[in-house]
Amino acid sequence: MKRFFTIVGTIDRRIIFLLIGLSVLIPLIKPNWLELPIKIDNNTQIVYDSISGLQEGDKVLLSFEYGASTKPEVHPMAVALLKHLFAKGIKVYIVSLWPEGPIMAKLAMDEIIASDLFNIEDGKDYIMFDYKVGGSIVIKNISDDFRGIYKQDYNRIPIEQLQIMEGVYSVEDFDFVFDFSAGVPGNAEWVQYACDPKDVPLSSGCTSIMVTDAIPYVESGQLKGILAGMPGAAEYEKMVYDYLTNELTNNNEYINENASITKGKAFSRMSAQSVAHLVMVIFILLGNLSYYYQRKRG
């Protein structure tokens, strides 16, 4: 046994990389081999309940603060949330505080339009704005004077000409703010510069690495729940999928009758995530045992 652990400790790191790679690759190629159940986390439930509590015609501000590198984690949340909002007839306002934000927002909207689930119209049911540099300064401006920085929408149409912009002057005119966050500026800046001072409900979907920093805001109620990384995205996708399926049978006026509802991408990725974690935990245990025996041998 001791010999085994000593040998394990000398394995070339490239073999470990290969095994981790295979543990991710195989469940992605053969998703049917392993289907693990998804348990809904309390924080995801709070997000879902907060969005479910919104009424038809309410205004929700979405902030896209992620890019290509964090797309696998955050993008499924964005798509699921947009579906949830449009199914409830909520008006969506999209701003981007990261350079790649408008591209991500456009991809998410394109996916929603391509799904043919809703009859939504640009400038009437949703509006997108260009990227603004400045991070927290932009958030502060959105908080105080939205029209001071946003004069035109993504299509260069003056906002005065857009029906959806009626009555929108500051963050207080929104019923809810949702932030898709992968760094700075992110949910902390939205809490500090806009939603705490103006008392507007805020929630966030963020990358796994940001979760431990955001949790204190969740515990204190400054964030209404949180979608934590890919598991959070998968849980929310599942809840939205169940909601849409149910609403379709209830003849929801915002959902097209002939539309087909599909499960999101994060859901199918969770098996790969779980297997990779399992392999990693095994290697951490083996590595520690190997270190222990090597130290014992002196």
Binding site: P72, G134, Y217, G229, Q273
Partner: protein
């Protein structure tokens, strides 16, 4: 065989992904090329975006509204940020670089002023308020609140260095260490989860681009890269032996 801009984009995406992943084998020319391209493209993209989405409409749109139609009226006060912006560029001229201190001083002062209030409000006052135990809640919630309170106090005691960590203070600070360790462990776990998520995203794209629709981009580039890396590695070993 289909060839259009989308396919070229897919091939470039696969090539760059595999070039970056090749670093797992070791530092190599493929990785270096991808790294340099990434830095250059990112800088260029952000520069162009900042110029056309921010400086052009927000600054020149207010100074020359008849020329730059961004929906703004003429505001002469925007000459000040223009001058400060030009001063910032003087950092490139050593004899005039001192002028750059003015915009930097403005940015630092303004950012600090803005941050002080919001940080004290959201991260200190509201967090202290919510660390208090709410006895009107259920049993488990009260237990969680007590746990948070103990964690906050013990972790703060650990960072209190004006008294030697002995006796009661030593015990509390030790409890604080355990809380901090749990926090670091959770952070590490979440970080690993995030990295695996990114790997899943890249692998998913590589799998999608393996099909005939994309002219078998992934297998062709992967095999070519393995062969070229093998040759490079062989020649590298040979030249090292000769030296």
């Amino acid at each position: 065989m289909i060839l259009n801009l989308d396919i070229i984009g897919v091939w470039l995406s696969v090539l760059m992904t595999l070039c970056i992943l090749s670093y797992l084998y070791g530092d190599n020319p493929f990785y270096k090329i991808a790294e340099h391209i990434f830095v250059g493209v990112s800088a260029g993209y952000i520069f162009a975006l900042t110029w056309w989405d921010q400086i052009w409409p927000n600054l020149f749109g207010r100074l020359f509204p008849s020329y730059v139609d961004a929906g703004f009226d003429f505001s002469p006060s925007y000459i000040i940020p223009l001058i400060l912006g030009i001063f910032m560029l003087f950092r490139l001229i050593p004899s005039l670089s001192w002028l750059a201190r003015f915009p930097i001083a403005f940015i630092v002062g303004m950012a600090a002023g803005l941050k002080v209030y919001v940080y004290i409000n959201s991260n200190i006052l509201m967090q202290i308020q919510n660390s208090a135990i709410d006895f009107s809640k259920s049993g488990w919630e009260i237990f969680n609140h007590i746990l948070i309170l103990v964690g906050v106090i013990s972790a703060l005691v650990y960072f209190f260095f004006s008294k030697e960590h002995k006796g009661a203070i030593g015990t509390v600070s030790k409890i604080g260490i355990y809380f901090l360790m749990i926090k670091f462990g959770a952070s590490f776990g979440f970080a690993v989860m995030g990295r695996i998520s990114l790997l899943i995203g890249r692998f998913e794209d590589l799998i999608n681009y393996s099909s005939e629709q994309y002219n078998y981009a992934t297998p062709i580039i992967l095999i070519s890269m393995i062969i070229l890396l093998g040759i490079w590695s062989f020649q590298n070993n040979k030249s090292e032996k000769n030296n």
